[in-house]
Amino acid sequence: MPSSGAAPGDVLTAEHVLEYTYTRSVGPVIGRFFTGLREQRIEGIRARDGRVICPPTEYDPATGEQLDDWVPVADAGEITSWTWVAEPRPEHPLAEPFAWALIRLDGSDTAMLHAVGARAPDAVRTGARVRARWRAERRGHITDIECFEVVE
């Protein structure tokens, strides 16, 4: 890698980027979940004990049985936990400060991790109602939901 620029003193520094362009197979369940997101739909899956899991899992978390009982879930729900990201990194979903939040969507019994766009941390709280902000151009990925927004 080429070196460039000088650090304090006499020591050189250079940026060195290591990148792996992986493509992952998502499997049948996340594949269907992503396909739904592309169509602006969110689906969960019913576990053997009746709870709805969203994002869906391929197997029952308690018994390990294969799951196939799909359930529509709303694109709005409630924040169950969150943390504020004051300085987003380049890989983060939003360029401006935002919250990572666990969001239990209406119709689901489990929470999903996603970003909540908010102007400041005092606009976010546990129990707050949020709704998905969908991308206009969707490709079948979790980022088809740009983020969630607090709704009053």
Partner: protein
């Protein structure tokens, strides 16, 4: 990635991993890299074992002592090992086949790795004498030496 209107189910996702490092070569090698911009090769000699390090490392790996001061070596050396690369890979800078060699500068005990060009790869051999071919755009980088070319003088 699937198009928005495509009817097929999603089966794959892009999952790139990108790691951005800030790399420092340290004090001794910074001096070495800067000297390259003036077409000078710097080394360091261990006061205990007398090994000459090129590039200088600021310490002796054998004796574990700090080394101070550098001295200049010629830009000629000997091929002490080599590999003919025939298989292309992503990010390759040179066309196959090419020779990647271990080159020990005259007066040094530690080889560096660099390209050997201006010669049929099949003619490269251990002991072959070579000289650095310098870039017209010097930077504090090993790429300031573009490659090594064979010296017409007798082999070592």
């Amino acid at each position: 990635m699937s198009e928005a209107a495509a009817p097929e189910s999603v089966t794959m996702m892009d999952a790139p991993i990108r790691l951005t490092y800030s790399y420092t070569p340290g004090v001794a090698q910074s001096e070495f890299l800067r000297a390259l911009t003036e077409r000078r090769i710097l080394g360091q000699r261990c006061s205990t074992c007398e090994q000459v390090y090129v590039p200088p490392r600021g310490m002796c790996a054998r004796d574990g002592i700090a080394l101070e001061g550098t001295f200049e070596l010629p830009d000629t050396g000997v091929v002490s090992g080599f590999c003919i690369v025939n298989i292309p890979f992503a990010g390759q800078a040179v066309e196959c086949p090419y020779v990647s060699a271990s080159i020990t500068f005259d007066g040094a005990d530690i080889p560096i790795f660099h390209l050997v060009q201006e010669i049929d790869p099949a003619a490269v051999h251990v002991g072959m004498r070579v000289q650095a071919v310098w870039s017209e755009e010097p930077q504090p980088s090993m790429q300031t030496i573009r490659y090594f070319r064979p010296l017409e003088a007798a082999d070592a």
